[in-house]
Amino acid sequence: MANFLAVAEARNGELRKVAHEAITAAKALAGGGDVHALLMGGPGIAAKAASLGECGASTVFVVEHEALAQHNPEAASAIIAAQVKAGGYRGVILSASAHGKDLTPRVAAKLGVGMAGDVTAARMEGDAIVATHPVNTGKVVSVITLTANPAVVSVRPGAFTPVPAATSAKVETLVPSADPAASRVKTTGLTTGNSTKLDLGDAPIIVTGGRGLKAAENFKLVEDLADAFGNAAVGATRAVTDDGWRPHSDQIGQTGRLVSPDLYIAVGVSGAIQHLAGMRTSKTIVAINKDKEAPIFKVADYGIVGDAFEVVPKLTDAVKAARASR
């Protein structure tokens, strides 16, 4: 039994789903010990603190500052490290999100310890934390032992399903010792994509388009299919993002996003090894490709050999009909 601190991630004044996941992971490691959450953001962020109790945080420390309204890695990592020291926690849990991955090594170095990054499972074993971490583009799974105290761990988004634990959290305001506005690295702008669309990391269904779509405007085909499902996001291969048809942030693969949705539909995707590295752990994989020798068919649970321009509109209609009859 030990106490843990969880960093609750917010963006643009809203909690992200990973905030609750970090608390859930901390709760599992604490084994009956206390879990405190740390929430940083611009003025007004304190209003979001109460919901963190729903996953088991008994105290939420809130830092509100104009200079924390956007990602402020220098100030945020300093605040986290200071709170870990002040609270005497056994460890601190962050999300391995884009912002979390930026903060975790900074926090570890400030505390003078090693870290376990992007873990998919974690437990206490004696005095150590034993965690699972996929390596070599997911082709190998490593079990790592972290003896550092305090422990600094980031958890893979989606790996820890938030468990409701009706705690009413006590909210305390923290005042940072250094001025958050004095950071050297400054976030000067945030461009959100289509904010009504689901993120690749959150979507239970992903429809990905490859070079087989022939032109950027033909992505409407996969967008329409994603819209028909209603809970799908659109991904892309590296060939497509390199050609500028889609933004780099949509790229799924070895050097892009690693995703693991319930359903992955690859349209006009050949299935290069680098692409498979990013999606092979999806629960169900569907492939639609003209070339029956395409490597994507080796991993597809359901493959259709055919022209995407014929098959996909039919599938979109069929999905709409299936959802309408539910």
């Binding site: 090693g114 376990a116 390596v135 799974v141 976030t187 942030s249 090894i273 991993v299 069929a318």
Partner: protein
């Protein structure tokens, strides 16, 4: 600009890995090795920065056993000026132990810019670059998908987030880790390969920090069932929908 690029030697991922007899590492027999993907982007970014600004010096640094000499030679053949091997028997899994060795080498080097790949493609921890920045007290931007340091005393960068991107500004000197999008690495030319043989490669002992993160086991993930083609053309759509509803239960 005076630039350092920290690179790592990693196995080629286009293989089926086997676990070594120790149970804590992959079997290295038959593996091919190269510079980690993102480190290649970082090396290319450094070359382009100095080509545009019209001069400077780039040093590649790699930690590991003598086999990393090959990776450093590749960097030199791309056009990097000099190389340093921080010698140790094996690369620890603990990023902080590595960061301490790199920081000891980089400290006092008066670099304007220290570049890393966003992460190494094998251990995938995404930790060493920002840790080195902390140890050196330098500003750090991680996972930059665009980078502009043409102002010479400051820079701007873009970072990709989940469904969004952000722009940042920072003063130099700084540590920047490079993501997809900045630059695709060039292939070494024959001339570059010949020139690399004459460029300096210094070998120094790595001053690794204490290790608190270790691999206790490595295993292979469960295999996927073999793929199945259910039909051809639009006629296969009703069967696909049926399977998604009754078998996969996702519709």
């Amino acid at each position: 600009m005076k630039i350092a690029v920290c690179i790592k030697r990693v196995p080629d991922m286009d293989v089926k890995f086997k676990i070594a007899a120790s149970g804590t590492a992959v079997d290295e027999s038959g593996l091919k090795y190269d510079m980690s993907d993102f480190d290649g982007y970082a090396a290319e970014a450094a070359l382009q920065i100095n080509e545009k600004s019209g001069g400077g010096e780039i040093t590649a640094i790699c930690l590991g056993p003598d086999a990393v000499g090959e990776t450093l030679r590749k960097a030199l053949s791309m056009g990097i000026d000099k190389a340093v091997q921080l010698k140790c028997d094996a690369v620890p899994f603990d990023g902080y132990a590595i960061a301490q060795a790199l920081a000891a080498e980089l400290k006092g080097g008066n670099y304007d810019l220290i570049l890393f790949g966003r992460m190494s493609i094998d251990s995938s921890n995404q930790s060493v670059g920002p840790m080195v920045a902390e140890l050196l007290g330098l500003p750090c931007v991680s996972a930059a998908s665009r980078l502009d340091v043409s102002a010479k005393t400051s820079g701007t960068a873009q970072r990709e987030l989940e469904g969004a991107s952000e722009t940042v500004s920072f003063p130099l000197p700084a540590v920047v880790t490079i993501d997809e999008g900045v630059a695709r690495p060039r292939y070494p030319s024959l001339k570059g390969i010949m020139a690399a043989k004459k460029k300096p490669l210094e070998v120094k002992p790595a001053q690794l920090g204490a290790v608190s993160v270790t691999v206790s086991k490595m295993e292979l993930p469960p295999e996927r069932a073999a793929g199945r083609i259910i039909g051809e053309g639009a006629d296969a759509v009703p069967e696909l929908v049926r399977l998604l509803q009754t078998e996969a239960k996702v519709l």
